[in-house]
Amino acid sequence: MSRNKLVKAGSVAAVLALGAAACGGSSSGSKPTSTGVKATYNAAIGGVVNKSTKVGGTINYVASSDFDSLDPARTYYAYSWDYQRIYQRTLMMFKPVAGKDGASVTGDLATGAGALSDGGKTVTYTLRDGITFETGAAIKSADIKYALERSFAQDVINGGPGATYLSPILVGGKTYKGPYKGGDLASIDATDPKKIVFHLTKAFADFDYLMALPISTPVPKASDTGRNGGANYQFHVVSSGPYKIATYQPGKVLNLVRNTAWKKDSDPNRLALPDKINLIEGLDSADEDQRVLAGSADMEIEGTGVQQDAQSKILTNPTNKVNADNPSTGFTRYISIQQTVAPLDNVHCRRAVQYAADKVALQFSRGGPIAGGDVATQLTPPNLSSYKKIDPYPSGSDNKGDLAKAKDELKQCGKPSGFTTKIATSNKGKGPKTAEALQQGLKRVGINAQIVAVDPSTYYSGVIGLPSNVKKQGLGLAVAGWGPDFPTPYGFFESIVDGRAIKKDGGNSNYAELNDPAINSLIDQAGSETDASKRNDLWAQVDQKVMDAAVILPFVADKALTYRGPRLTNVYINQAFGIYDFVNIGVTS
């Protein structure tokens, strides 16, 4: 339950809900597997389970709720981005391979990575031959330009990451209002129908990754008009990949059939094996687990993991266990420690919280080592390229906290006998248990925290995401979690520790209002550093500095227990999303 809901609530608040990069630290390492592996526990992490090229059949997926939107410019759920890859093509795409390579990008509509010129400020992509919409019309660079321009029109089609990421990067992006009102954006040049050229304000290392997000899915301008356009385009999307939408009843079903206009030789990345792909939406989570374990459905697509009940059925039954995986989701679960709330404005009081927390109890509150994840000691999740293990606040050999150090920090803070504060949490899912675990841990050193549990629908947007409210209510501690929009450190850190990303009017994700010039400038340097290892060093420094400021108390690097139907072929976890890659899955019968 919990993880589902929290993640979604976060996403609605534009917090993001993107499981990205998963790692799992499986033994097979970074070797892209070309040969298949047998179905065993965790086999789909780093390996391709049931490798096959058998064409035909029907896949039956299930989901607990509808996608946030089928409009490629508006969707912001990781599983939705992953799912769109079945029937939509983007300029670039995350490689449909197992292992670490899945977190890197390859050309989809484009022939390859963008060619840089003008010191990285001009990026040029060349389009493949034979690319078409489901209507049979050829896809031209203007269709991609139009799609990207749409994502700026937040007044018509809100949601999605497009405007946030593109506006500071593209020349003229900050003032551009989208194609419905603002004409066209000159910094995207589509004069040659086979080439698309971007003019950037400064070099941006992750631009290829941005172009792998659904925002670069081509949209024919002629289809985005009248009753079927704008906000309603999500019900009339035009597909560009090997499948097209046959039936879509929001919250009920989404059925895909083959798109006969798609040409296989224009698309080296997709196998397009099954004839039909059906998705039933709106099922209860426990019902989903039952269907998948019984075989009447093949897979749950949200990837947030099975419920506790199914967890025991899987882990205690070897027949089920071989069909399960326990991938990292790329999320770090943490407690935000607000420096705007006294006495946590004092770094020593914040450090006291870091030492006093019982990380085992916190880990258990998330579901333990399997359904929850590993105890975290730093903000960076272990699968990000910049991950360098640090443990600035060791919580004792048993991870249950270092009370002596905590008391010492309390003394330095001038509160030797502790203090009182509040813990904010959503009142659904795992939040309340997490808050109780934190409360019990802190009580041991005299920090008495009161739990404030609120409805998840307002938690991120109006309670902890509204800086004035955090201060007014004195919410010193807040239960939170974060995963990157795209599997690079920039995608992970930017919204949560960049002081310039603080949103004073709500929807803020830098809950602690960390605004450290040194961190901000490191983010800038890293953003335009083109050398990968230097860039990773810079991000590792950001991690260290954030931990030094003690505004974030990480406690779990998220994992999920997921189940793949034994009938499915070509199953693997895509590292970019931290969930199964839907692009090439087929069925044996």
């Binding site: 506790q308 009940d309 333990g368 007014k472």
Partner: protein, 336 residues
Amino acid sequence: MTAPLDVEPSALSADPDAVTNAESSKAVEGRSLKQIAWMRLKRDKVALGGAVVIVLLILIAVFAPLIVKALGHPPNDFHEDLLDPTLLTPKHKYGGINGSYLLGVEPVNGRDIFSRIVYGARISLLTAFLATVLSVTIGTVLGITAGFFGGWVDGLISRTMDILLAFPLLVFAISIGTVIQTANGAVLGLSGTSLSVATLIFIIGFFNWPYIGRIVRGQTLSLREKEFVDAARSLGASNGHIIFKQLLPNLAAPVLVYSTLIIPSNILFEAALSFLGVGVRRPTPSWGSMLSDAVATYSIDPIFMIVPGVALLITVMAFNLLGDGLRDALDPRAGR
């Protein structure tokens, strides 16, 4: 109407009318209504059983700290070492029940379920009793006023009751609960857990008074036309005398019976609100929030759901049985 007296053969001999008839042959005039009722109630073993359970529950709630000290562990202490580290359910069979943890331990954090049930009884009984007192007080006062004075006073009070009865109570309770959860500092001198308990009492008590108000109003309407009221009035009795000395004693029976019957529904309402996450502030133990926590693991650790469920069942049933018994004792005609 229920007829609990038909249930067991032994109850047949306790038929209050049979008893009354038998004893009335031996000159028993001068018995007050109270005495008769008490006599009938004494013979109703089922109702007495309910009463005994209620007394026990009250003792448990009052002496919770002592009981837990002797037989349990502090209710908010974690004991993760008693849990299976993978599944987070109790290591030992039957939810971890043993000599030290009498009702087992909670999954995920290993808190002592026995201690939490004992402390949970406090919240359940306290909110239910105080809420009942609140609704009975308001209901009786306004019910008598409406029934006795009639006219525009009756119109005003009756329409208010209509409005309150049509009020979407659960939705309102959830929103108020959320607001109070996030309230900063003290509201009316209360904060934290005491504030959330006071809020619960207010919501449950205040919105339930129209039910009792209607009953009292109806009874008053019929009572005020009775001869003894006319007699009192013709003797020059004041309104106050009539209300307090003539009407109120006659209203005591229905009010008492109704109070006993709304206590269990209030207990369930408190549990429902805690279940929905807008009840008592965590980590204060409450049966409703225990049930809500147990949902995630009901099929692999059913004990955690059964224990608070049974506690609720026993409590609610005890009050219902006592209430039925009281009704039969005070108003024998209603039962048959």
